[in-house]
Symmetry: C2
Subunit: 341 residues, 2 copies
């Protein structure tokens, strides 16, 4: 913790972020075998500047562990019903230890099978989806990730929420560089953006959310009280959310988004949402000049003025936070210290 932050803020090194997260989770009853996976994800989110999935979310994780909405002591169970399929039951516990438990088995399966999938069921908010697919890409495989969440997007033509903001992510290994990571929700903006505006007492731009009758609204409260998130690209975003729902929720045997309790409050039982990952060994298909072809594609993007690859902002943030640490509101810091006490 250093003093070069604004008056009401605190700057923490990533090592301090890690220690604070660990202490808070353990003090709230999270099993020491489950904690490292969650902590590592928090640190990575803060390192990449994705604060909404970093320490800002930690109080909710702590609350859910304390009140038992999430079973911090649940140990994931793994099986492999087919040579290409790995399944991990998170048992109503945190998502991260379940995913971490499954990823090595996924990578083993894809090595021999060429393509393999990891289905996580009875799970919870998994933080940044890109974080998980990036780790598969770091092992040398192309990876896709699909994640469902409590319902907030209406179907084509409807007004009531059926799909979560249901993100999709892809990561692909690059020779001599970090993997390219793309991670996007099916909605125009993530739901956390609405919450942030509500907390600040600010209106939201039209086009982000609809009220409970399906009308555009600039009132974050109207969006959150039975309203819905606008899907990106209209019915096409709702279509993508349906694809993600089928893979992450239905296929994994997890709760559908309509049946999942909130990720935000303490009400209800465990959300029991799902995650679905596909890994592909590109070496078996993409040919001997695959690196050159990949960089030729990325070069066609980068040579255009103003164009950029997904993930560039995160890479810049990583360099910045490694040197300068991260700055969080003092109120959040004090709250987390209370959980850790």
């Amino acid at each position: 913790m250093t003093a070069n932050a604004p008056h009401d803020a605190v700057t923490l090194s990533l090592t301090e972020v890690e220690a604070l997260t660990r202490s808070a989770l353990l003090a709230c009853g999270v099993d020491p075998r489950n904690e490292p996976a969650i902590t590592a994800s928090m640190v990575a989110a803060e390192a990449e500047g994705i604060h909404s999935h970093g320490l800002a979310r930690l109080p909710t994780y702590c609350e859910h562990a304390k009140v038992g909405k999430i079973d911090g002591k649940a140990r994931p169970v793994l099986d492999s019903p087919r040579p290409g399929l790995v399944r991990v039951d998170a048992k109503g516990g945190f998502a991260h230890p379940a995913i971490d438990f499954g990823l090595p088995a996924l990578c083993e399966a894809v090595k021999t099978q060429g393509i393999a999938a990891l289905a996580i069921t009875n799970s919870y908010n998994c933080g940044v989806v890109g974080y998980h697919v990036e780790r598969v890409a770091a092992e040398g495989f192309l990876a896709l990730g699909f994640v469902n969440a409590p319902a907030s997007i209406a179907p084509m033509g409807g007004t009531k929420p059926v799909f979560g903001t249901n993100p999709i992510a892809l990561a692909v290994p690059r020779s001599g560089r970090e993997p390219l990571v793309l991670d996007q929700s099916s909605s125009v903006v993530a739901k956390s953006e609405i919450v942030v505006h509500q907390q600040r007492g600010e209106p939201i731009p039209l086009g982000w959310a609809l009220d409970k009758d399906g009308n555009p609204t600039s009132d974050p409260a109207a969006a959150l009280a039975g309203g819905t998130m606008v899907p990106a690209g209209g019915y096409k975003g709702a279509g993508l959310a349906l694809i993600v729902e089928l893979l992450a929720a239905w296929l994994t045997g997890a709760n559908l988004s309509i049946d999942a309790s909130s990720f935000a409050d303490n009400l209800g039982r465990s959300p029991r949402t799902g995650q679905f990952f596909i890994a592909i060994d590109s070496g078996a298909l993409a040919g001997p000049n695959s690196n050159e072809r990949l960089e030729r594609l990325f070069g066609a993007i980068l040579q255009q003025d103003g164009a950029r690859l997904p993930g560039e902002r995160r890479s810049r943030a990583k360099r910045r936070t490694a040197a300068q640490g991260v700055t969080i509101p003092n109120a959040l810091f004090e709250r987390l210290q209370r959980y850790a006490a």
Copy 2:
């Protein structure tokens, strides 16, 4: 052919569509072993009311076979580099016989592996992607399809085309019903919509396409002359197009969209684009009550006033065309008769 059509149009039964397509393709030098796959796809597109991928496209297929841009006699070659991976090289020929050649092997692989993929390389326009994934779903498997096309979408922040309109499709089996099929391009509208407006001398709505400088345009000619298609949902549509590009083009070893020759004119060599399909045995994951859970999801959509499932329009068209046939412009009919002569 019946007379109950407008003055300048002809109504054909689906049997007549099939016969006309077959004759035209064979007369243009398509190998009799390749023709049935293309014809079946054409008939299905007309049956489902997707005229842009039906007979309206047949003159281009015939031209490409006649001038040799597509090798109508090329026979696809199949191998399986890994237990979960099937690869078919279309050898610069039509996409449909290559896909048809690979689908049974894909279905065999997914039965034992739980997940399997079919990579089609050195291929061509494959018509309606949903048609192909629907056939995998008819065999009992959840299927995803990814297809690249000559570049027409600019990357995030750029103005020059890098990605094709790159559609994604999903089909999922339903107990006692036809599979649910979702099929959507990464752009706001399919490129063929721009062509149709140009042919009619009509402006296009703002928001469909950009001119070569990246400015919104209502002029279809400006859109087609070095302009780009607007991605659905802005940068998120471009992100989805990148995902599709990596799977359908890069991973399969096919031409990147920037390297693919036009699907529309006779210039250049074979487009050699790619298709990528993933099949998953949901029975291994989704649990014993998977049908009920699937219909519960669809029910949450259908119970909302105005909401609908993807594919409903196609289902209605199928019933209509089976009874009434399809109506096409007389000029198109006469042109196809000339190819068939």
